[in-house]
Symmetry: C2
Subunit: 206 residues, 2 copies
DNA sequence: CTCACATGCATGTAAGTACTTGCATCTATC
DNA sequence: GATAGATGCAAGTACTTACATGCATGTGAG
């Protein structure tokens, strides 16, 4: 009898470090949680998807609420923006494309959590705060960028509203993607360029 | 003993017609359902909020799933657009503002259901289909409008993408409202005008 | 080798939840 | 005034779910 043929029992015990187990649980939690909501997700399902025993889940996190909090905190950990600002070229259109791409990526990373934060009203776990951290941080960057360009006279309008408008374009794109993908799929970069183009033509001075 | 002092028991039995009861249940269902999700909402809660007995709820709708389906169908009933198209003035900017206002209204009417349809993936009840009926219908109108204006040379670009961009502005505004209302609230009509303005400057020919 | 430790496994518990049922009561209608 | 229909009320059933617990086993560090 080959040992390799029955990895069932030994598997979880052997191969995974506690940390690895923890990560598998967190991943499974996020998947299910974002698809079925907090109450729609059962601890048994999470354990199954993670390939661990349900008891293990509780030994790691204590209870379901703590697990959820650990999950959102884990996946919304660090927001690094220093690279973003310093990498800008100075050319308005190019900069906005770069910012747009960065924004798009951050929103996509937490798309599921953002949607969750929209729908669950009793958010005792601060899912919303966590999920919106990165978008908010970029919002600040954008406001400042817009303000500078308004001061130089390149753009017109209230920087806050310019920023909001700019973000809304990308926000809608990520959130509404699945509902609007019908015909004519467009290359993401082309789409970004299109959005920036329209935006710029719309708000550029003269 | 005054009869008026104990309306408790008689109340529901007396005052409400079966139809009225049905409507109260549907309303309560929508409120709770959109706040806590399908699984987060209990039939007991719905009954309480509606001010009826839980048994009554089942006598009306049979089971929870049927209730949910009846609820979304009831609130997404008719989509009337004939007025919209015929009321347009012919002036591009004015028309777009009018369309924008209409769009905004329809999205707001089903905001909660749209958010639900984003977050619940196993949507056996067609909540998504129902919730998106009105926005989709308007989408069609907008595409056709854009196409006409592209043909006359007033606008440039792919009508489908123009329409999508246009809708995305209002979509983001409704969906993301609660997360972005921080400072500087803006008058809704001003905001619509601003959006249409930017959009038009961005996509108008020359 | 051994011993702490992480895990699997089986079983259990207490609470909640969808849904049912039988009966009493009110109301409108004939 | 009798009768049918809508509802309230109370109790109950079958199932799920979060969470606990005791025991066996494999693994890695000393």
């Amino acid at each position: 009898m080959l040992e390799a043929e029955r990895p069932t029992k030994a598997d979880a015990t052997r191969s995974a470090s506690p940390e690895e187990t923890r990560l598998r649980i967190l991943g499974a939690t996020r998947e299910l949680f974002s698809k079925k909501g907090r109450r729609g997700t059962t601890t048994r399902e999470i354990a199954e998807r993670a390939g661990v025993n349900e008891a293990t889940l509780f030994r790691h996190f204590g209870n379901k609420d703590a697990l959820i909090m650990a999950c959102t905190q884990h996946f919304c950990g660090a927001v690094e923006l220093q690279g973003l600002v310093s990498d800008l070229s100075g050319d308005l259109e190019e900069d906005l494309r770069e910012i747009g791409r960065a924004l798009l990526g951050r929103i996509e990373n937490v798309r599921d959590l953002i949607i969750m934060s929209l729908s669950e009203e009793d958010d005792e776990f601060g899912v919303a705060d966590q999920a919106w951290r990165a978008p908010y941080a970029i919002h600040q960057v954008i406001v400042e960028y817009m303000a500078r360009r308004v001061q130089t006279g390149e753009l017109r309008g209230d920087p806050i509203w310019l920023a909001r408008f700019f973000m809304a374009m990308f926000f809608a794109r990520v959130i509404g993607r699945k509902k609007f993908r019908e015909a004519t799929p467009m290359d993401p970069d082309d789409q970004t360029a299109f959005q920036v183009n329209v935006f710029l033509n719309g708000v550029r001075s003269k």
